[in-house]
């Protein structure tokens, strides 16, 4: 009997394990990544991305509550909270309370923690960045140079062999200055490019915003630096808006149409009103 009950117990235990394992296997793993953005050496922000491998394909996960931390995952180091959107992204601008942690060292780390949900357990992600900046400059003949400097202890030192992009800022995206996709920095940390986009429309004075950026760098995150250059064509644009056309708004129809329509209407209704006057006249004649 003893032996049988042992086997019986083991069988039940195994069943229970299988059940718990099965229910745990229902939960997919949420993988979090966090990227650091330095916008023109001024504004900095973090973008977290939540995705999960479901049915062999990576899917972006919305509606995850995410907490951003600087340094370590302490309540004191909480930067803020955000919810991932339809694309699985959550954005947080770095708030003032990060000041002390930020100023501590040249290397800073950020941690992202997701809240446990029905479908996903708590997940974490982190990124370590070294503070860096781009100094952009222009030379004659529409030449552009940019120096990438990283902070070593308290000294800004040039960085070599990092890919940089040079582009002109436009509405939704940046147009690269020439067909070459990237430019690597040399031993002095300098990358240079030629501006090849002739007659690109700028603002009314022909100004363009030049941007040098480092994208998705493992050490430095995303950096950018901007400069206004007068290399564009002064913009001229033409619009029919506000003119008198057949497709303009009410009150802005072509003059010939208004003249034609109003004169016809006045003529015919003038006759009708005259005739109604005639009826009144007949009334007067009849009732006398």
């Amino acid at each position: 009997m003893n032996k049988h009950s042992k086997i019986f117990f083991t069988a039940i235990l195994l069943q229970l394990l299988a059940i718990t394992a099965f229910s745990q296997a229902e939960k997919n793993d949420l993988s979090l990544s966090i990227s650091y953005f330095n916008s023109n050496n001024h504004i900095q922000y973090l973008v977290a991305h939540a995705k999960s491998k479901i049915d062999g394909k990576f899917q972006m996960i919305p509606n995850i509550n995410l907490s951003f931390y600087i340094g370590t995952e302490d309540a004191a180091n909480l930067l803020g909270k955000a919810v991932s959107n339809d694309k699985g992204d959550a954005l947080l601008f770095i708030p003032p309370n990060a000041k002390d942690e930020w100023k501590k060292a040249a290397k800073v780390s950020f941690v992202i923690v997701s809240q446990k949900t029905k479908a996903f357990d708590e997940a974490k992600g982190n990124v370590d960045i070294t503070k860096a900046k781009i100094q952009i400059d222009t030379l004659a003949d529409k030449k552009i140079t940019a120096t990438l400097l990283e902070l070593k202890d308290t000294i800004w030192t040039p960085v070599k062999a990092v890919d940089m992009k040079f582009a002109i800022k436009r509405l939704d995206a940046d147009l690269n200055v020439a067909e070459t996709p990237t430019y690597a920095t040399d031993s002095l940390g300098v990358a240079s490019a030629d501006f090849k986009r002739d007659s690109l429309p700028g603002d009314s004075k022909g100004n363009l915003i030049l941007i040098a950026k480092v994208e998705d760098n493992d050490t430095y995150g995303n950096l950018s630096s901007e400069k206004i250059v007068p290399w564009g064509k002064p913009i001229t644009y033409y619009t029919e808006f506000g003119k008198r056309t057949l497709f303009a708004r009410r009150g802005k129809s072509p003059i010939w149409l208004e003249l034609l329509a109003y004169s016809i209407v006045l003529a015919v209704w003038g006759v009708l009103i005259y005739l109604i006057g005639q009826i009144k006249k007949m009334k007067k004649l009849g009732l006398n």
Binding site: H42, Q44, K87, K99, L171, D172, K205, I228, R250
Partner: protein
């Protein structure tokens, strides 16, 4: 619109040139866009937010100027009718890349809560003549520069803005459907019945720019997502396409992008022999097509095969 005075403009430009070492970007002007020609797309909201700058200093910035834009208040009906000044939105569709995945369609339908069965983007299997190439043609509203739909609307419910976008005001539309008869591209749909939307969508305040929620008895169509354009983001179809078929941009900036690739618009259309649909009708559409040369994918019409199987 041109009430910005020059001196202030130059001051801001100078500040930017100095490298933004100063704090205090709390002026009423957007420091991230140079002067008036590309006139502010975003007006200062007045709501200031404190952030930590890269230098470790505490700065105050107007919430509306942050890029990426967190959120924008809705524009008034009058501003929605005028549009974003200085811009002329244009779309380039690369037919050689389209595989009829219809991600554009599902993204657009989802984001605008369109009635199931209807589509603002239609992906046509085109094969004009026996010996010409078969290809997939995604068709949005053309936002024509001489829009036949706008010409015939009796109540100014559909209108053309100065940024080239043709919108529909569902609060004004009387449902006469003359615009649907006039459009040669068959791009307009009609809300024949109540849409039965979930509460959070049905309760959203309506704006011509978001076109949400759609209303019974009115007309709807692709709107080039002007609410996204105001934020400097791309329309939903453009971001949703995995093959980069759609490219969107401002003709006055001469640039179009599909999110990952950016091109100079005039060069792209000229070099790849872009064309517009039904050019001979004189509607002057704002959507350019790049011919299906060097197709990325062979043309397979699964729908036709299914239909043939059925019959």
């Amino acid at each position: 619109m041109k009430t910005n005075d020059t001196s202030r403009r130059e001051f801001i430009s100078a500040t930017l040139l100095a490298g933004l070492a100063v704090t205090g970007c709390s002026s009423g002007k957007n420091p991230f866009e140079p002067d008036a020609a590309t006139i502010e797309t975003v007006k200062p909201s007045g709501e200031m937010i404190k952030l930590l700058s890269v230098d470790g200093e505490v700065i105050e910035v107007d919430k509306a100027f942050l890029k990426p834009v967190p959120s924008l208040p809705q524009v008034s009906n009058e501003l929605a009718r005028q549009g974003i000044p200085g811009k002329k939105f244009v779309m380039v569709i690369d037919l050689s890349r389209c595989k009829s995945l219809k991600k554009c369609q599902s993204a657009c339908n989802h984001m605008h809560s369109i009635h199931p069965g209807q589509n603002w983007i239609k992906v046509y299997p085109q094969h004009e003549a026996e010996h010409t190439a078969p290809y997939w043609q995604p068709t949005t509203c053309m936002h024509c520069d001489e829009p036949p739909c706008v010409k015939v609307c009796p109540v100014d419910a559909t209108f053309k803005r100065q940024d080239g976008i043709v919108l529909i005001d569902s609060d004004r539309c009387i449902g006469c459907r003359f615009c649907m008869a006039a459009c040669p591209y068959s791009t307009r749909v009609f809300n024949w019945e109540d849409l039965d939307l979930p509460k959070e969508i049905a309760d959203k305040p309506y704006s011509c720019e978001t076109s949400v929620p759609q209303k019974k008895g009115t007309v709807g169509k692709c709107d080039f997502c002007p609410d996204m354009a105001r934020k400097g983001e791309l329309p939903h179809c453009v971001s949703a396409c995995p093959n980069g078929v759609f490219m969107f941009g401002d003709m006055n900036e001469d640039v179009v992008t599909n999110g990952s690739e950016t091109f100079r618009f005039s060069d792209l259309v000229r070099d790849k022999a872009g064309y517009r649909l039904m050019e001979d009708l004189g509607t002057k559409p704002s959507v350019y097509y790049l011919p299906p040369v060097n197709r990325n994918f062979p043309f397979e019409n699964k729908e036709e095969k299914e239909e043939n199987k059925k019959s």
